[in-house]
């Protein structure tokens, strides 16, 4: 029981990331009819927003402290971050400490801008082209974005810590009345799950309860008819693209403490998230979320030693196996609708 609960929890944070990325992917599928291979790159850029903000806040000037000597006997140099000098030590330190959550605020406008530029500058021209062309051009874009990030940040992963308050783990099992020291869960992973839940809830209520969302949902169901109503669906779809980018971007920001950002993380996640979208059903938002969590948790379960001893290596391929089985038995995925992406 404890081990099962532990694996369930372990699957949640990865599942959250899958769900958030897949949500944006499927939004773009459903509304724009575009297969976006550059969506993983947006997730990666989000993570690097966190890196950037953390670096900006850590920008320091050096002062010499004549009273202390370093190990060579020279006067020690002390680095003071500008923010600590400007806003006082405590507040400045808190800012630096909270760089990752703060980066969400910082990243949202950036990601929306990235999304707008991508849609208006490139993807718009591909609405009427075959899906193969869409895949190919966004694949090219993903390579470009990845290489740009690699140039600025290098090829090595950059560790980006969570705020001190959320560092370390807590005994989740003991809280629920299980034996202590069995279910130890890092705080930040819990934060990530809650964050994902909030974002998913926000996106769903946005689509459910606003006129804008209603039009978009109608557009996902039948684009042509909505166009005939005289509603400027294109502009709304541009905004949708920005929204999808913001969701993936903030997912990336918050993921930075879990996985040190590197330039190819976008591609790594993208392949899995495509699988998630297909399993959930192309163009189905609840499907994407459900499949994201499902696959995240399955992945975590299959990495249990008990499972691995029966089926060695299953943790590496479980997602693909599930995807293949589902695609063959339920062609439209778990919650797919008829007529989406069927040529």
């Amino acid at each position: 029981m404890e081990t099962i609960l532990l694996q369930l929890l372990n699957g949640l944070d990865k599942g959250s990331a899958y769900a958030l990325i897949a949500l944006g992917l499927t939004l773009i599928f459903g509304t724009l009819g575009v297969v976006n291979f550059a969506h993983g790159a947006i997730f990666m850029i989000g993570a690097f927003c966190a890196v950037t903000l953390s670096r900006l806040l850590n920008l320091s000037f050096e002062t010499v402290d004549p009273e202390k000597l370093d190990f060579l006997g020279n006067p020690a140099k002390i680095k003071t971050p500008y923010v600590e000098a400007w806003f006082g030590h405590d507040f400045g330190h808190a800012l630096i400490d909270w760089a990752v959550p703060l980066a969400i605020l910082f990243s949202i406008p950036i990601m929306i801008a990235v999304g707008f530029i991508m849609e208006r500058g490139l993807i718009k021209h591909f609405y009427k082209r075959p899906h193969a062309d869409q895949i190919l051009v966004t694949f090219g874009l993903a390579i470009v974005l990845q290489e740009v990030i690699k140039y600025f940040y290098g090829a090595n992963p950059i560790s980006t810590p969570a705020p001190d308050a959320f560092k370390g783990s807590f005994d989740f099992g003991a809280m629920l009345g299980f034996d202590p020291n069995v279910i130890i869960y890092p705080y930040w992973r819990l934060v990530y799950f809650l964050f994902a839940a909030v974002v998913i809830g926000a996106v769903f209520s946005f689509l459910r309860f606003t006129t804008f969302g209603m039009v978009v949902r109608a557009g996902m169901a039948d684009r042509e008819t909505v166009g005939l109503l005289g509603i400027n669906i294109d502009r709304r779809f541009t905004i949708m693209f920005g929204l999808a980018a913001a969701v993936a971007g903030s997912a990336g920001v918050m993921y930075a403490p879990i996985l040190s950002p590197n330039y190819h993380m976008g591609m790594d996640f993208l392949v899995l998230c495509f699988v998630v979208v297909v399993v959930g059903g192309m163009g189905s938002l609840p499907g994407a979320v459900a499949a994201g969590f499902l696959l995240g948790i399955l992945e975590s379960f299959s990495s249990m030693n008990a499972v691995k001893s029966i089926l060695p290596g299953i943790d590496q391929i479980i997602i693909y196996v599930v995807a293949i089985i589902i695609l063959l038995t339920r062609p439209r995925g778990l919650m797919g609708k008829k007529g989406v992406m069927e040529d």
Binding site: R129, I135, L136, I143, Y151, I324
Partner: protein, 414 residues
């Protein structure tokens, strides 16, 4: 005459094939146009490693094009077959003999079987679903090569030759060092250098072996394109509904195309191992699958020459661009005023050396956006423009898309 009787090709295709043969035979000369030691010598591509890669990836792309160019099914997992071919070939060299012929035969057989299994499942879906299924299968193979299948693949180290391999046929003649790949005793890495007018031409056994196989593979592809089977594959791309209501079953046609193109990939993988006897899982990574897609599109999908052209251009640029570093750039632009020179060098440096992938990505976006028919279509347009410029025909002629629909989907040379 020669074409019709022996090759079964019409005049135009025979001429085309002869040109291709001439070009492949002369590659060591053609890619080495600049004198040794001159400023431009770094643009020479006539060294065995690069020429072998061009021939091998040419085969890979030609095979991929049989599936994608003709049937329109975009596989994003073709590198898996390349990887499987490499593993099979290395095993043959470990167990039986260093002669490359059995190795590449086994590579083709194994990858063909592998493709039949994956194709049988993947082809039950089409469009984007097919792409994602093939992608999933390839990723799965990649992950398995690193984990469960380590006894077969040797995991992260990659599969290599070792002195304790059985090598049943070669046992008697083996010395104390690792043997080299050969064809009936002629070593693949043997080269003959000729110096003419300050240019050093390298004639390498390995390259010529690859070249001969590439020409055969290309010839088979021409035959296939011109055959009723090839026409059926284009019918699959054009209208599957009409096809079924005409009494044809598209499934076996697409599956056959998938297996054939998988075998081409396996052949390419086997040749890679024949040139350098090791195999690693990273050959199966999905970016490697993306690379063959890029080659085919860049050259022109659905055309005969396109994939070869695409593979050549990409492999050449990859090698040359990767070699260009800041000091090379400095030697080019030293005549510019200092400030401007720095800027120019900075810009160029982003796209060369380490930045080669950036160039690749940008090229790819530009080609897909502005030249969906690839280089072949670009060349056609160019030659057309030149001809029209000469005869000063009506300028509206040929620029009306309504009456010149979708030239990209047609087969080159028709």
């Amino acid at each position: 005459m020669l074409g019709k009787k022996i090759l079964g090709l019409n005049k135009k295709d025979t001429r085309f094939l002869l040109i291709v043969i001439a070009l492949t035979l002369l590659t060591p000369v053609l890619l080495q146009p600049f004198a040794e030691g001159s400023e431009l010598a770094q643009f020479n591509g006539g060294y065995p490693d690069l020429m072998q890669k061009i021939a091998i990836f040419g085969i890979f792309a030609v095979g991929f094009n049989i599936l994608f160019g003709l049937t329109g099914y975009l596989s994003f997992g073709h590198a898996a077959f390349l990887g499987v071919g490499s593993y099979a070939a290395v095993w043959m060299m470990k167990l039986l003999t260093m002669n490359v012929i059995p190795a590449i035969l086994l590579a083709m057989v194994v990858s063909g079987l592998f493709a039949a299994a994956i194709g049988f499942v993947s082809l039950r879906r089409s469009g984007i679903y097919f792409s994602i299924l093939t992608l999933a299968f390839a990723q799965m193979s990649y992950k398995m090569a690193y984990s469960v299948l380590t006894p077969l693949t040797n995991g992260e180290t990659g599969l290599q030759l070792s002195l304790d391999d059985p090598r049943v046929l070669d046992r008697a003649i083996e010395g104390s060092s690792l043997p080299v790949t050969n064809i009936f005793g002629l070593a693949m890495n043997a080269s003959h250098k000729v110096e003419v007018l300050g240019r050093v031409f390298t004639f390498n056994v390995g390259y010529y072996f690859c070249a001969v196989i590439a020409v055969i593979a290309f010839y088979v592809a021409i035959r296939l394109f011109r055959s009723p089977f090839g026409m059926m594959l284009r019918a699959v791309k054009s209208n599957q509904q009409r096809m079924t209501y005409t009494g044809l079953d598209p499934k076996p046609y697409t599956l056959a195309a998938f297996v054939i193109s998988g075998m081409y990939a396996g052949l390419a993988g086997g040749l890679l191992a024949a040139m350098d006897p090791l195999a690693g899982a990273d050959r199966m990574l999905w970016t490697a699958s993306g690379e063959v897609v890029i080659m085919t599109i860049l050259g022109g999908a659905g055309t005969l020459m396109g994939p070869v052209l695409g593979a050549g251009v990409i492999k050449y640029l990859e090698n040359i661009f990767s070699k260009i570093n800041e000091s090379v750039l400095h030697s080019w632009f030293h005549w510019l005023p200092d400030g401007i020179e720095d800027v120019v060098i900075w810009v160029f440096a982003r796209f060369t050396g380490e930045g080669w992938h950036l160039t690749l990505g940008v090229t790819f976006m530009l080609v897909v956006t502005f030249l969906p028919g690839g280089l072949v279509e670009g060349l056609k347009r160019l030659s057309k423009r030149i001809r029209e410029g000469k005869t000063k025909r009506d300028k509206y002629d040929g620029s009306d898309p309504e009456h010149h629909p979708a030239p990209t989907k047609r087969v080159a040379g028709e």
